[in-house]
């Protein structure tokens, strides 16, 4: 039943995406072009990376609100390591990713060791990590990176934006892990019944620790891409990105109560949101109109899929 309804939601969402693409193409002839669509991929990479890790976390019934702050912290650290400590840029970027990963590990430890509910734990670290970014940076930006660094955020590989490759690889690997491996199974088991998972000898704590750490990692990876895309660091980078990522994940059919969710769904959700943002803008609708519409789509998509599910099983 769950499997069937899951597929049903994603089919519905995919149809919605196709519909949106068709309608938006009629609104502007500049929308459905390869260049524009690839460019949209560039713009959604950071949110996409974070949303993929968030899918795992939400599927366990958890949540990570601190991703935006980790992004900010890792962005700052990239600059600090390179500029202030004089590390070579690749090393600096890796070190910054390590810091972000550690921040995620911190979340994981608070959640698993102290049994703090994820929402509360990450609300607290949302403030803490952003504060660290501000404190460490002392409100200074680091700019003037060498040109090769911009390949990551502004360049292309085989005609496709570099970071889109990164997103693609991460998405494929993540969907294989979630769908076909023991870890994926463990994630769903934890999300559906954590106690039973523990009684079945699954390593609940280790899995959660790993997931929050992975979420820190993807946030930090997104940070480096972000820095490369905008060529500077700011401590307020990524503010509010957690809500964008969560929106994509729940639009993609993951249940906020855990036990349900797929990477495919999240990716379709992500594309739908990005297509609406871009297509509506090209059609001459301003940003505030667009976010209203995205809000409505979110509610209606979930409502529709609820109705389908109910009519299907009753």
């Amino acid at each position: 039943m769950t499997l069937r309804s899951l597929i049903r939601h994603e089919t519905l969402l995919a149809l919605l995406l196709v519909l949106a693409l068709v309608v938006l193409s009629f609104q502007s002839d500049r929308f459905f072009t390869v260049a524009n669509l690839l460019n949209q991929g560039r713009l959604m990479t950071e949110t996409g990376l974070i949303a993929i890790a968030m899918t795992f976390i939400i599927a366990t019934g958890g949540i990570d609100l601190s991703v935006g702050s980790i992004l900010g912290l890792a962005a700052i650290m990239t600059g600090v390591f390179w500029h202030n400590l004089g590390l070579p840029l690749p090393v600096a970027a890796l070190a910054a990713i390590a810091v972000g990963t550690l921040a995620g590990l911190g979340n994981g430890l608070i959640i698993t060791r102290f049994r703090v509910p994820p929402l509360i734990a990450t609300l607290a670290t949302l403030a803490l990590y952003r504060g660290l970014a501000e404190g460490i940076s002392q409100a200074r930006s680091v700019r003037g990176y060498p040109d090769w660094f911009y390949v990551l955020g502004q360049g292309e590989v085989l005609g496709v934006p570099t970071q889109l490759w990164v997103l693609l690889v991460v998405a494929v690997v993540a969907s294989i892990i979630l769908a076909y491996t023991r870890w994926g199974r463990t994630v769903y088991a934890i999300g559906s019944n954590e106690v039973a998972a523990r009684f079945s000898g699954l390593s609940v704590e280790k899995t959660k620790l790993l997931l929050y750490t992975a979420s820190g990692f993807t946030s930090a990876l997104a940070a480096v891409i972000f820095v490369s895309r905008v060529s500077t660091t700011r401590s307020d980078m990524g503010t509010g990105i957690e809500l964008d990522a969560i929106t994509a994940v729940v639009l993609g059919g993951a249940s906020i109560f855990g036990g349900r969710g797929t990477i495919l769904g999240t990716v379709i959700g992500l594309c739908l949101i990005q297509a609406l943002k871009n297509g509506l803008s090209l059609a001459g609708i301003t940003g505030d109109g667009t976010i209203m519409l995205i809000g409505a789509v979110l509610i209606l998509a979930i409502l529709a899929s609820n109705l389908f599910e109910r009519s299907g099983t009753r």
Partner: protein
């Protein structure tokens, strides 16, 4: 009673005495006590550094400048107690403040300008509640959507203009009664009323039942759907009252609300001990937590914490409160 008149089996002496009053207080209000202790500790420490901290003026600004957050957190706490959440309340307060100010400037009687937003807040949240209860959409999804709609709508409609030239009698948050600022009175009275209601009225208790075990609540004859709608409407009511405090504090009304206002309000609720899983927590806790945040914000300036590190220290203090609570519960 069911068994009166029936011959009961012989009563054996009770083997366990009731735990001491203190233990029970700690069990029932542990988190509230932790937060309260944190506030007291902050006051003591900061006052030692700078005695002006405890001056009447500063107390007034700490309490009344942030009272609207505490008032909004009352409704949020009720929503969370039922196992739901609302991430759109910040945007809602912005919308309601704009409505309130527009009415006041348009020359309607001030009580109209105060209470129309309360009604609108109840109506909008009622709609959210209906989607949650009857549409069976998780509240975080509905309110994420509502957040976008309200935020976008506010800018679309107002174009971002500020409302100024507010009539002086509209600015009730600046008034004092018995020399106590109105926001402070409102915060205390509403918190106490809500706390009593949630403790002593069956309707209030039913919210805990619903959050603790929805199926059991239905089996106990509690109409779950209606209660969910109701709790969102009540939350809208408190959001409306919070708006009155928010909108009448200054002589202008900004059409953008403080960034992350909803997160601040949710944080106040959960740090105050409202379980995010639903079913437990009190509004006294959320009000204390709102006061704690306000105190921290002011205290750090008083003890000259570098402004750059301010947010990090706030984050650490929040984390410390959370961990203290977990240690108290022996979970660590």
């Amino acid at each position: 009673m069911a068994l009166t008149g029936v011959e009961l089996p012989p009563v054996r002496p009770r083997t366990s005495a009731r735990p001491s009053a203190l233990r029970r207080l700690m069990a029932d209000y542990g988190q509230e006590i932790v937060v309260f202790a944190a506030i007291v500790a902050l006051f003591v420490v900061v006052t030692m550094v700078n005695p002006r901290f405890i001056s009447a003026n500063n107390l007034t600004s700490i309490f009344s400048g942030n009272a609207y957050i505490a008032v909004a957190a009352i409704g949020m706490s009720m929503v969370i107690v039922t196992g739901n959440i609302d991430v759109s309340v910040g945007a809602l307060i912005g919308v309601l403040a704009t409505i309130s100010g527009t009415l006041a400037v348009a020359g309607y009687p001030v009580w109209v300008a105060w209470f129309v937003p309360v009604l609108v807040g109840m109506a909008i949240n009622g709609l959210i509640g209906i989607l949650v209860a009857y549409g069976r959409i998780p509240s975080i999804v509905v309110t994420l959507g509502a957040l976008s709609i309200l935020r976008g709508g506010l800018i679309s409609v107002t174009g971002g203009t500020w409302i100024s030239n507010l009539p002086p009698e509209f600015l009730i948050a600046q008034k004092r009664f018995f020399d106590i600022p109105f926001p402070l009175i409102t915060m205390v009275v509403l918190t106490l009323l809500a706390a009593l209601w949630m403790r002593y009225f069956p309707y209030g208790r039913s919210l805990y039942a619903l959050g603790g075990n929805p199926e059991a609540a239905v089996a106990s004859g509690i109409p779950a759907e209606r209660r969910v709608v109701a709790v969102f409407v009540i939350h809208g009511f408190f959001a409306g009252l919070a708006t009155i405090l928010f909108a009448t504090q200054l002589q202008v009304i900004q059409s953008t609300v403080p960034p992350n206002l909803e997160l601040t309000i949710i944080t106040a609720s959960v740090i105050g001990g409202v379980s995010i899983m639903g079913g437990s927590g009190t509004v006294i806790g959320s009000t204390l937590a709102a006061i704690l945040f306000a105190t921290i914000g002011s205290a750090l300036i008083f003890v000259n914490v570098s402004a750059y590190w301010l947010r990090a220290v706030i984050g650490l203090l929040i984390l410390a409160t959370v961990l203290a609570d977990m240690l108290r519960r022996g979970r660590a």
